[in-house]
């Protein structure tokens, strides 16, 4: 049985504005939960949630809106998966000691292999990782990231700076290991 016209129109609008961002949704989920089968489940769950809340979406950027939902769904999923083992609470200060490298040796990272880059990003604390993925892969603005991750703009900036510094350090360490 078909849908009544308003419901069919709502579905069509959803399919036009939100469905096309499936790659972005999958990419973010895949980085966050770090495994393909779980990423697929998270994406499906996120889309169903997005559809339920679609009436509340009045913006023009379906992608940023969807990614906020994907991010929350991934987080919920990760909390459930982590239940039982006592994962340390994320503490911004504890992770703040990394200083971005300034020096010619940082040139070494240019030679980094795909696996190193993937692993160095994958190992980031999730707060840094989601911020980095949204900025570097989805090219979202600070404001969009702040909205999607529900933190102030300043936190986005510091997380992004620390994420980059960590990846840079990680790549450097690996480059040196490879050389030794």
């Amino acid at each position: 049985m078909g849908l009544r016209p308003p419901d069919a129109a709502r579905l069509a609008r959803f399919e036009q504005t939100v469905l096309p961002h499936l790659n972005a949704a999958h990419n973010l989920a895949r980085w966050m939960v770090r495994n393909e089968a779980d990423a697929q489940d998270v994406v499906q769950e996120a889309y169903l949630r997005a559809f339920r809340f679609f009436d509340g979406f009045h913006g023009s950027d379906g992608r940023a809106w969807l990614l906020a939902i994907v991010r929350n769904t991934s987080r919920t999923w990760m909390q459930q998966a982590a239940k039982g083992d006592s994962a340390a609470e994320f503490d911004e200060d504890q992770h703040s000691r990394f200083c971005p490298t300034a020096g010619p040796e940082a040139q070494m990272i240019r030679q980094s292999g795909i696996d190193s880059v993937r692993q160095c990003i994958e190992e980031l604390p999730v707060e840094y990782k989601e911020t980095l993925v949204m900025r570097e892969m989805e090219e979202m603005s600070y404001k969009e990231i702040a909205d999607a991750t529900s933190v102030p703009l300043g936190t986005v900036m510091s997380r992004l700076a620390r994420a980059r510094a960590r990846v840079q350090n990680c790549l450097l360490v690996r480059a040196k290991e490879a050389r030794a």
Binding site: M1, L3, R4, D7, R10, L11, F14, E15, L19, L22, N23, A25, H26, N27, R30, W31, A39, Q40, V43, Q44, Y47, L48, F51, R52, F53, D55, G56, N72, T76, Q79, Q80, K83, P100, T101, A102, G103, P104, A106, Q107, I109, R110, S112, G113, I114, V117, R118, I121, L132, R135, E136, M137, S141, Y142, M157, L160, A161, R164, V167, Q168, L171
Partner: protein
């Protein structure tokens, strides 16, 4: 400009988040500061490496069809209870409808509060099971209320009744009765109370009325054009106390 100040601006510079004045300032500084220029160079290098070498995980065709099918199924499931058969009845039985129609109306109005009650209980249970009790964990009503702004097209009243033994623990968005609603969460000893709020069709204010469904107690009232439903496994008397305090 000091190097510390400059470095604060280098990340926003590469992210194109600076205004023109800041941009001019930093570029002036960069011309005279080798350290900062090198830092910027490394940053650009890192971004390039990430762009070139970090995998971008595209969705498979199979995931695309799976997601689309799931959304369509959910669209149908959502539509079914409120339309399918009343529509079919109205269209095909137009002539004989007078009596039948009356019966349908009576049935559906009688059925609706019960459907809503089931929906509310389901929302309450879901919030406890799905580890999605709170979107904004806060015991401060001045944090919870603004959080709802911009997420909903109405502004629910948020009250802290800690002194009366009902501690506010936070809020979240939920979906009920065909719309996004505010859910505020309170704790009374070991019992969680979900207070669901959405704009009401009725303008008048009326006091609490209580029902019980599947072992849960529900208390309902209207105020200022909003419908309030409190759902909990707390006993009926205390839940009504909660409602009376909240309504005041």
């Amino acid at each position: 400009m000091t190097c510390d100040a400059a470095r604060e601006l280098l990340q926003p510079l590469v992210d194109e988040e600076l205004d023109l004045t800041q941009k001019v300032d930093i570029e002036t500084h960069l011309r005279s500061c080798v350290g900062c220029a090198e830092y910027l160079h490394n940053l650009a290098e890192l971004r390039q490496v990430i762009r070139d070498k970090a995998p971008y995980y595209r969705a498979s065709e199979q995931l695309a069809s799976r997601v689309q099918a799931a959304v369509r199924a959910s669209a149908k499931a959502e539509a079914r209870p409120r339309l399918n058969w009343p529509w079919a009845a109205a269209v095909s039985l137009a002539a004989a409808a007078a009596i039948l129609w009356g019966a349908i109306l009576i049935r559906s109005t009688a059925a609706q509060p019960d459907l809503l009650a089931q929906d509310l209980v389901a929302g309450h249970v879901r919030s406890l099971m799905a580890n999605h009790l709170l979107d904004v964990p806060s015991t401060d009503q001045h944090t919870v209320k603004p959080w709802f702004n911009g997420k909903l097209d109405f502004s629910p009243q948020v009250k802290d009744l800690t002194d009366e033994g009902f501690r506010l623990t936070g809020g979240r968005l939920d979906y009920l009765n065909g719309r996004a609603v505010a859910a505020m969460v309170f704790q009374r000893r070991q019992h969680v109370i979900n207070l669901f709020v959405w704009p009401s069709a009725r303008a008048e204010t009326n006091g609490p009325s209580a029902i019980a469904r599947s072992g849960f107690n529900l208390v309902h009232w209207n105020a200022d054009g909003l419908a309030y439903w409190a759902v909990s496994d707390l006993n009926a008397a205390e839940l009504q106390d909660f409602a009376r305090l909240y309504e005041k």
